[in-house]
Symmetry: D2
Subunit: 310 residues, 4 copies
């Protein structure tokens, strides 16, 4: 890969039509808008509703994103699965579809011992010609990946093959532990949705993989962090933090409900349809608070733009 | 369907060759042996390693079992999935493959509220022309299904469309609660692997869905229960109980490790390969105890046969 | 009680000397400072390290707080326990010590069915002459309390005897569900530490029970909410939200580590000793980010004061 | 201690009068009967309802058992608690009450990291002049104790100070791992209630700590295991296994409900009162199956006695 995997790499959401099929037109609108706004590429992951797609849909989504991203940035495909064989199948398909890397969580239904987790990632890494991002999503789903497994994978395959997205709570201290145990070699991505981005960025991350719903603010925050603009950092991170707190409470479906609401309201998605069954829907009072917070977020983005350009 | 869904309906295990592909020859041997031994049909489920198969393999397995079972009994396909759309896709395919019923657990990765669980089963029932077996596997995986959801489904679709396989612990009392809340209408299957079969049978079940590994003993126990042969009941259930206790401790992978070991040792399966990653492997001391218990189980089956024929 | 139970009612933390005994001098300093800053009273709860105190210490703490609070406000004692008998013992002692109310979570070690939870609170309410605050702490510990149990308790004992502190996630929608199911009669307290206070206050709460560590900001936020000063509301709630996010990640011990750090740094507590074993300690990088956020919080409090007085 | 800690060391249950106070008369009857039947001593633990006793009751129970056991055997006090200080307090009291050892689980409400678990047991061991039994009850409550923590404690304090009761599932393989990692030095006790006793005994245990309810059968099984009487081993273990399976399904309260039922029916306990709230009560159908199994258990004990004496 010549193209660098870094910066703001949002997780694409999967738009659906009213008949519950993937809305590829909205998908393209999302990708175009993402690049306009400053994304360096796109990923698929839990908030792409990957687990709820049929096999054919997952394949189509990967193909479509590979093509839509094209030369504009990198595409990173989520390939985590219940078995190594499934994960390899997804990864090899992603490679053909033009992905720059694959990202995987361990199986969800089984709590596997450290050796089995290591073997899962080892086989995956050996069977795909792309970097593998080892994702610990245990903050909201699945089991934590032991530090020694992460370190062992890096030692075996090298820092250009194995990257990390640690989301076990507390994220910051876990990130530092991984950084220090690998003498700073580990290439780490933030996956907190933005709520820990400031803390994680100060500890050292190569990029962040937020959802799409607050993308302009996350891009602005990322830039503020790069130029160490402390005032802008908190001006932007505070409303992001409040918004993600609201999502976080309802788990994965809290994120999905709010992202679909926002992308539909923004006109990027034709509908806010989510794949059923889900655990949570937006109630009117949460929506009202969300609307108020989104106004604050826009104000923050505007004010930082103004002061940056002045 | 004219054929009755009842009696001993084991869950088929999925044999693999050393190259990790499905071994259809061993699969057929398993099915033939099952019918010889007294099975009334075959199911697929968690112990078929369904979650760890690729999509293509899952489709092939369903097609193969539909064909192999043929007219000899009923075939019940496990179709539980992470989304309603996936479950319906699996169910409609199973229908084409000749299944007599489908069986589904709710999604595993999301803890969905009662209304969403109800809608999931409702949509599934409406989109397939087969009975739906509502499976609560929360004793070892996933979330419990609230009693009112089960009762509501039966009331809406009728007792010939909605069956139940309750495995929430404690199984017996939950089974009685479901039986009583439906005035005895609910058609209920035991899925305890045999460890609670005596208790469940006394409470009233239409059949049992054990693994294959102790099938002759489970068939003998089922017959003893039908003819109320109290001595034979405990002669058989005691070693089954000890064996399942041993499996149960290591969760789903405890069952898988032991079933593959037994079926390979019996010559039905060419290998004892399981799909990786898994949580547990058989250690030598557990295997030795297992071997001793299997001898006791065979003795029990023999002694009951002898006394029944004398 | 003639004194109203409402407003900002912080949970007192338990200061320890280096020898691990309770530091009553620091405790008094905390209480005095709390009233100066605007507290309407004090509670004890999980963040008082109640579970980790010996029985004698728990009794002493209750006695001391009853005396220290005196006529300056209300004292609400946490009395949740593993059995009804224990909870009643704690509650009757609290009554003697001058408490205005007691607050209880259900047992932690046992997942009890709805009927048993109802009986637990019923017996508690019948055996103490004080209002009982039904606390659902399932957002971070223990099991959720079913809505029908909460409603049933209110119907049976009336709105002046049974209050609520719902902390099951998502807090806001659960709070509204309880409010609506009781036709607005339920007297509800926010226990989110401040992270959901804005959303909860808009849904209608009688008060909030934060920790002590950000008390001046929470008091200022509460006042801003009362006077509907939208600018001040977000000026204050944003840094609170960022701070609580940081704590929340490490669970109960995240709160304890940061509160002890802050109260020791503020000079209120002689030490930052916590009762062992605990799950988490403050690492240097988290502490640095915490320090930066505390500066932002102070600025927010100051700016709101200035604009309010101007 | 000159007296050996080994053999069958049942956990005493706490009998209550109808007014919910401890029934010391029944307690003494239980102890007397236990020694008659072949116990080598008594323990207190989870099935003593320790967590649900008030502090005064817990102290009284320890005093009473110390006195009642006297010179007839050893008394081992359960001292696990939510903080190290509490555990030390219980342990020092147990020492005064004549205990021969103390047994502790880690805190239940907090999931503590390995270092904190190690420190908890280290401080406990340093503050009591008795052997400490490190109990991992994670099979039904609390968190597992990492193997390296167990090994480290043994290495530091020696095999006469640190013993083990591993109940993490699967028990057998975990027991062997501990045995092998300590080169066979670890003194290990079975705490499976009897369901894994055969497997555990073959792997090497110093004793077993069952409940009281099937004590004569467990003593007979222990003796059969000592004399390697294979026929008697399974004759006895099979009905025990079936009975414990029945209890196990309803967790800790499954054990408590059945033990109190049996001890009351046997005339040892005046009532079957348990301390509330609890998760489960014996339903009529489970009780009927229990009664049938108890007959089978008695037959097994009788038949082994007869064949042993013939």
């Amino acid at each position: 890969m010549t193209r660098q995997i870094s910066g703001v790499l949002p997780i694409a959401h999967t738009p659906f039509l009213e008949d519950n099929s993937i809305d590829f037109e909205s998908l393209r609108r999302q990708v175009d808008w993402g690049f306009e706004v400053g994304a360096e590429g796109f990923c698929t992951g839990m908030v792409s509703e990957l687990l709820r797609l049929t096999y054919d849909e997952r394949v189509s989504l990967t193909n479509a994103l590979g093509e839509m991203v094209g030369d504009r940035g990198v595409f990173i495909a989520g390939v985590g699965a219940e078995s190594t064989k499934q994960a390899i199948q997804y990864a090899q398909h992603a490679e053909k579809a033009g992905a720059a890397a694959v990202m995987a969580i361990p199986p969800l239904a089984t709590r596997t011992p450290p050796g089995a987790v290591r073997d899962y990632f080892t086989e995956l890494a050996e069977n795909v010609n792309l970097p593998v991002i080892v994702q610990d999503a245990s903050g909201y789903v699945g089991q934590p990946i032991p530090l020694e497994v992460s370190v062992g994978l890096l030692r075996r395959f090298g820092k250009d093959k194995i990257f990390f997205k640690p989301e076990a709570t507390p994220i910051g201290p876990n990130l530092s532990a991984l950084r220090d145990a690998t003498d700073g070699e580990a290439r780490i991505f933030d996956g907190s949705g933005g709520i820990c981005l400031v803390d994680c960025a100060r500890r050292g991350v190569a990029g962040t993989m937020p959802g799409m719903e607050f993308l302009p603010a996350v891009v602005a925050l990322w830039k503020a962090l790069q130029r160490k603009d402390e005032a802008a950092i908190y001006r932007l991170s505070f409303p992001i933090c409040a918004l993600v707190s609201l999502q976080l409470q309802a788990g994965l479906d809290g994120f999905l409900a709010i992202e679909k609401y926002v992308l539909h309201r923004n006109g990027l998605f034709k509908t806010d349809v989510r794949r059923q069954p889900y655990a949570w829907s937006l109630d009117p009072e949460t929506r009202s608070e969300l609307d108020r917070l989104l106004v604050k977020l826009d104000e923050a983005v505007e004010s930082v733009k103004t002061s940056a350009s002045s």
